[in-house]
């Protein structure tokens, strides 16, 4: 199956990737080839098969409702690209 350039752009925008024009073209070709290759799965009859979403871990223990120490500011914000006070700063969000 062949992806259109529009589809590549739509997926890139969902994934918040600003691809260059060359990258878009390359993605279109390569993703189309990969999708062709994985299309073989349609040959498998899975009408009576349950999906596997977890490899193991059937029992997940729960945690007691106890407050644990949070990060001090130098850990929470230590890697922040931009901060104001103890808040992370981002370009103004326009609603």
């Amino acid at each position: 199956m062949s992806l259109t350039l529009e589809e590549v752009r739509h997926v890139a925008s969902l994934a918040r990737l600003s691809l260059s024009a060359e990258e878009e073209t390359l993605m279109r070709t390569q993703l189309s080839a990969i999708l062709d290759a994985v299309a073989e799965l349609s040959q498998v009859d899975t009408s009576a098969v349950e999906p596997t979403s977890h490899a193991a871990g059937e029992v997940a223990p729960w945690r007691p409702d106890e407050v644990r120490p949070s990060f001090p500011p130098e850990k929470a914000l230590g890697n922040a690209p931009a901060e104001v006070g103890t808040s992370f700063a981002v370009p103004r969000i326009i609603e």
Binding site: L17, S18, L31, V44, A55, G57, P91
Partner: protein, 489 residues
């Protein structure tokens, strides 16, 4: 023979007796790094001061008679996917180039508790996506056996560092073969434990339902000892299993007599198999038969769909796991005229091509209108692949195959053809999809003097038996004692 030729357990014994000190061991490793890593390029960061300080602490413990265990003082390396408090953790990515981890992951904490000095952080394919370490954002790592070839990946830095004796052992992660394939290509031993055996807490996630942490060592007993250190139930990882690990070293010498080893007929029919690899693996299975194992043909009929299944599930999970690298709280930010532009530019420049390719593929497979045909379908086929193994393990104790269809390939050879690169993983992927333990150990050398790996897959939680089979083979062969031709230290 210098100290770096010792195995982890041998060194551990010498440290215990006082014949060697941990500081000496660390210095020997650092000397080797200084001499070789300019060519091998296994390390992203060497933590000299940290490692020496930890070695000194180990030596003090010994003099007080308070050794933390058999590996106390034995220097190791970490794939740069493990968060280490206060040290950069890059995941091989520009997006995390400046990221200093604010906490230690669980496996790292366990290593620290066991007293192993951490020598540094090892190169890898970006976010563990790749089979050659060429997808590192920083530089490719070279295979110590032939510097023109790749050590495999994604834990290629770990494998190369262990093979080149720059560290005694290392931790890697394996999502589709990222421990076992580089182990095969570098003549080392690598184990991917059962999913849930080792905590994933504090390991940068690639594909959460497939990722698993494992040891990479020079021989099987070291592999068992390192696994013992990290195979601990962790309440901080909801997929960590509350299953107590057995004593892995206790039964390792038990041999294979009477064991039934399955040979999947589909594996030998897979395309792209190097005849030398096939011959070496056949010789290895005959050797195991001679030791008393019974070889049983088995069928894993859905194995041929493993690659397609994996390349839908892993990218889908990755597309979500990598959404957090958005330039808001940590990591790279590339400013833009507004928030949307900041996101797009940060992620476009933070990620390499392979990572972007998989994010795109995974986003597509999960998107409205395609979920059922791609992601859900792949999850259903995953059930069938898992069931194949359940069926096979009704009659056999383990399954034997090549680890990789070829020995080490030249750097640059496959990098532009993602589908050809993905074929590297055909033998290793099914094990991740089924959540099983799988080990690779050296079983031969090509005419070009490149290592060949043998893969042993076990039942869930049956690492002990996998190690025992591997050890039986290793005892009768000397592949694990061969060193890459880098010159003596």
């Amino acid at each position: 023979m210098g100290p770096t030729d010792l195995s982890m357990l041998e060194l551990g014994r010498k440290l215990g007796s006082g014949e060697l000190s941990s500081v000496e061991a660390v210095r020997a490793c650092l000397a080797r790094v200084d001499r070789l890593d300019g060519r091998v390029k296994a390390f992203l960061r060497v933590d000299r001061e940290g490692a020496l300080a930890q070695a000194e602490a180990a030596d003090r413990r010994r003099t007080k008679g308070k050794r933390a265990g058999p590996l106390d003082g034995v220097p190791v390396g970490l794939k740069d996917l493990f968060l280490t408090e206060g040290l950069p953790t890059t995941a091989g990515s520009r997006s995390l180039e400046s990221f200093v981890a604010p906490y230690d992951g669980t496996a790292v904490k366990l290593l620290r508790a066991a007293g192993t000095p951490i020598l540094g952080k090892l190169n890898m394919d970006e976010f563990a996506m790749g089979s050659s370490t060429e997808n590192s954002a920083f530089f490719p790592t070279r295979n110590p056996w032939n510097l023109e070839t790749s050590p495999g990946g994604s834990s290629g830095g770990s494998a190369a560092a262990v093979a080149a004796r720059m560290v005694f052992g290392a931790l890697g992660t394996d999502t589709g073969g990222s421990i076992r394939q580089p182990a095969a290509l570098t003549g080392t031993v690598g184990l991917k434990p059962t999913y849930g055996r080792v905590s994933r807490f504090g390991v940068v996630a690639f594909a959460s339902s497939l990722d698993q942490v494992g040891p990479m060592t020079r021989d099987v007993p070291d592999c068992a000892a390192l696994l013992q250190t990290i195979a601990v139930y962790d309440p901080a990882d909801s997929t960590s299993a509350p299953v107590k690990a057995p004593d892995y070293l206790a039964e390792i010498e038990g041999g294979v007599k009477g064991m039934k080893l399955g040979l999947p007929r589909e594996y030998l029919e897979l395309p792209g198999m190097d005849p030398e690899v096939r011959a070496a693996v056949e010789a290895a299975t005959r050797a195991l038969e001679k030791m008393g194992a019974q070889l049983v043909p088995v069928s894993l009929p859905h194995t041929k769909y493993a690659l397609a299944t994996y390349y839908l599930i892993a990218p889908a999970e990755a597309s979500s796991n990598l959404a957090r690298y958005d330039g808001v709280r940590y990591g790279l930010r590339v400013e833009g005229k507004n928030l949307l532009a900041m996101y797009g530019r940060t992620r476009d420049q933070g990620f390499g091509l392979e990572v972007k390719r998989r994010i795109m593929l995974g986003t597509y497979a999960l998107s409205a209108g395609y979920y059922d045909a791609y992601y859900l379908k792949a999850q259903k086929v995953r059930t069938l692949i898992k069931q194949d193994f359940v069926d096979a393990f009704r009659t056999v104790d383990a399954v034997i195959s090549p680890t990789s269809p070829t020995a080490a390939f030249r750097i640059g050879e496959k990098v532009s053809d993602p589908l050809a690169m993905y074929l590297n993983d055909v033998f290793t992927l099914p094990c991740n999809l089924a959540g099983l333990p799988g080990l690779s150990l050296p079983c031969g050398l090509t005419r070009g003097n490149l290592p060949i790996g043998l893969q042993i897959l076990g039942k869930p939680w049956d690492e002990a038996r996998v190690l025992r089979i591997a050890r039986a083979f290793e005892r009768e062969h000397d592949f694990h004692r061969r060193s890459p031709p880098l010159g003596a230290a």
